[in-house]
């Protein structure tokens, strides 16, 4: 992974000193709350329902065991001993004291971490596929490009006061898109052109929130060395032309939609041509320098362990289930990537205690070269595990409650913190996740249903990505009462589809029944191995509506 040199370290250290001084001024009354607001937001600090919330950047979801252990100790020393993994591969502390935040940032800087631009109207953490670099189906490792974007976007002087937040995601897989790039302000797809050169297919104007829209292609092929000047051009046009009169219409998606992609492209290309051959053109030396940080770990020369695993699966049916759902094929023979599930029913999705994350860090050292990844589905990945060690790792995870064999199923719920924590939320989301997980706890049934993304957001801001869940649930407030709107058919993958709303919303206690009826309809209507998502798209919403809204007798 990327290791800071003296430049990177100095910048992060100076950022801590800057925020310490700003916090002092705020506490002394020199800075008004509304003036401190953008300054603290650009360091990831929200003032929330019960306490401040600090969002720590995990660049493209990658971290070391040393960093994770520091997160555990920070959560013990300054918070309540647990953390939340977010849908944008970051980590949140829910209860830090404002006065402590400079010290927390100082501790993070010691392990090459920060909270820079994890909120506010600026360029946020760049995200990517949690299996980047280890899957066979990949143009090339996207992480060096994410790091190059991280450095370019970090403390960018021109784009710190944008009309609204700005999110970039990179995908390099050809058949899947685990980074949901079509639902980002800019989505970058690594591609090869007819000459065999690597570049980016660039999408712009995607997003969720109030107006969910998939991004549109602005460029079919951008040479890699032009990445930064092209990003600058898009951001500059957006900074100058994006709406600032209404925060709900301020995202780039609204600008692109209003202008039309062709007119928007013209402005961007005109701006880009002025700078494209200037000093921002990436040098091969820089590309090689950054790529050098992402070379493969010291894999042993191993063979795939099909016989051993078959034997172990046969002897332990629970291991068989875990292997089927929580283990991903690896391009290196004899290795596998595993998902540490943070979705145990009865616990908030994506939450982990300090004890759990300390042990996960130990397991990363023991089994996976000391590195971990955070997935957009709010789980943790150990990416380089020897197949011969899978069974012992499985047993240790089981003992910790971290081997819930439900990855990719209905119970692998994506869920925002919701009304229990978040000041923006209209409704609670965690109890809904829990009710669904409790109701559908039969593993054989879950496996029979196959892959289903259930995404839950407590408000229109859509942190739980409800629009692109195969089943999406959105909390809404009606005259002080919490209701839930259900949508079907969303797809975060290559197709990039926004789900359609089923109909009138439901009360919280109706949701498990509603989901049950939706699933029954699917089971009755599906063709042999048809996925839930494909059935919904084939038969449309009507059969589901009829079942769900039928008058009960």
């Amino acid at each position: 992974m990327y290791v800071y040199d003296s430049y990177d370290q100095q910048l992060v250290d100076q950022r801590v000193a800057q925020f310490r001084e700003q916090t002092d001024r705020f506490l002394d009354g020199e800075l008004a709350p509304e003036e401190f607001l953008p300054l603290r937001l650009q360091n990831g600090l929200y003032i929330q329902r019960h306490a401040p919330m600090l969002r720590i950047a995990v660049p493209y979801g990658l971290m070391s065991s040393t960093q994770l252990r520091r997160i555990a100790s920070i959560s013990r020393d300054y918070d309540k001993g647990y953390v939340h993994f977010t849908t944008r591969q970051n980590i949140q502390l829910n209860w830090p004291a404002l006065e402590d935040v400079p010290d927390i940032l100082g501790e993070l800087a010691e392990v090459q971490m920060h909270a820079i631009q994890t909120s506010g109207n600026c360029i946020r953490n760049t995200t990517t596929d949690q299996f980047a670099g280890i899957i066979a189906d990949e143009i090339e490792d996207p992480r060096p490009w994410c790091e190059i974007i991280r450095q370019w976007s970090t403390l960018h002087p021109e784009f710190a006061f944008l009309p609204r937040k700005f999110k970039i995601a990179v995908n390099a897989a050809t058949a899947t898109d685990r980074a949901a790039i079509r639902f980002h302000d800019i989505g970058l797809q690594l591609v090869k052109n007819e000459e065999g050169e690597t570049g980016f297919q660039v999408f712009v104007g995607g997003g969720l929130g109030r107006t969910p829209l998939p991004g549109q292609e602005i460029r079919s092929f951008l040479p890699t060395e032009d990445l930064l000047s092209y990003l600058d051009a898009i951001l500059r046009v957006y900074n100058l032309k994006g709406r600032r009169d209404n925060k709900y219409k301020a995202r780039i998606k609204i600008l692109v939609k209003a202008m039309g992609i062709d007119a928007f492209r013209e402005l961007v290309e005109a701006e880009w041509l002025k700078y494209k051959d200037g000093d921002d053109k990436l040098t091969s030396a820089e590309i090689d320098r950054v790529k050098g940080h992402f070379s493969a770990p010291a894999y042993e020369a191993l063979n795939d362990q099909a016989d051993l695993l078959a034997q172990q699966r046969f002897e332990d049916p629970q291991f068989d289930k875990w292997l089927s759902r929580n283990v991903e094929a690896h391009k290196q023979p004899g290795y596998a990537a595993i998902t540490v599930s943070l979705k145990k029913p009865g616990y908030a999705p994506g939450d982990a205690t300090a004890e759990q994350i300390d042990i996960i860090a130990d397991l990363a050292d023991e089994y996976s070269f000391g590195e971990l990844r955070v997935s957009h589905q709010q789980n943790v990945i150990l990416s380089d595990v020897r197949q011969q060690d899978l069974y012992s790792l499985y047993q240790k995870l089981t003992a910790l409650g971290l081997a819930e064999p439900t990855v990719g199923t209905l119970n692998d719920v994506i869920c925002c913190p919701g009304g229990d924590y978040c000041a923006l939320a209209n409704a609670k989301s965690i109890p809904i996740a829990e009710a669904v997980q409790t109701r559908f706890d039969d593993l054989d049934y879950l496996y029979d249903l196959g892959d289903i993304d259930l995404n839950i957001s407590g408000c229109m801001n859509a942190c739980g990505h409800h629009h692109i869940g195969n089943i999406g649930i959105l909390g809404v407030d009606k005259k002080g009462e919490e209701f839930y709107q259900v949508s079907l058919g969303g797809d975060s993958g290559i197709q990039g589809k926004v789900g359609k709303i089923l109909g009138p919303s439901f009360k919280a206690d109706q949701i498990p029944d509603v989901i049950g009826k939706v699933l029954d309809t699917y089971v009755e209507q599906r063709h042999d191995d048809e996925l839930f998502l494909d059935t919904v798209h084939r038969i449309g919403l009507d059969p589901f509506k009829e079942r769900v809204y039928a008058a009960s007798h």
Partner: protein
């Protein structure tokens, strides 16, 4: 009088002032004239011997001002709200694209904490809201000694300067 910082120093007796030209079109020297004035009368005052500037407000665009850049000693951006970041991009365009070498000034609702980014975007003069904020802005001048990006001051991004 609000404190003015120029090139990292407090400046006394700054002569420049925003001036809304009267019906007869008369204006004094060191007037910061609105964009609408330059658009309507810029050609007529091409031969003026006065030192003149322009003031741009929220919603104004720089395009119409470009033909008059050779006549302008100062371009002043008035910030209605500090969170409106458009002028950062305008300043960068004026410096990097149009090679404007006169003064680019920020005034209105700006925070001392924004001065560093404004400077890097091409501003070189700042009218702060109070003496105290001017002192803060001066004290914050050396917050960062490293930057990743190219900007209006340093045309080379860090990756072209990095010594490992």
């Amino acid at each position: 009088m609000q404190p003015l910082i120029k090139n990292g120093l407090l400046v006394e007796n700054d002569p420049w002032a925003v001036f809304e030209a009267g019906e007869d079109g008369a204006f004094p020297e060191y007037a910061l004239l609105p964009l609408s004035f330059w658009v309507s009368q810029g050609d007529e005052i091409r031969d003026s011997v006065f030192k003149l500037g322009a003031v741009l407000r929220a919603g104004d665009e720089i395009d119409a001002l470009i033909p008059y850049l050779p006549q302008l000693k100062v371009i002043a951006f008035e910030f209605e709200k500090f969170a409106d970041g458009r002028a950062f991009s305008f300043a960068r365009q004026l410096r990097s694209e149009h090679a404007f070498t006169g003064e680019i000034r920020a005034f209105g609702d700006i925070l001392p904490d924004q001065v560093n980014y404004l400077q890097r975007s091409g501003f070189d003069a700042f009218v702060l809201r109070s003496e105290q904020e001017a002192e803060t802005a001066l004290a914050l001048g050396n917050t960062f000694s490293v930057q990743y990006q190219s900007d209006a001051v340093q045309s080379q991004p860090l990756f072209r300067r990095r010594v490992s």
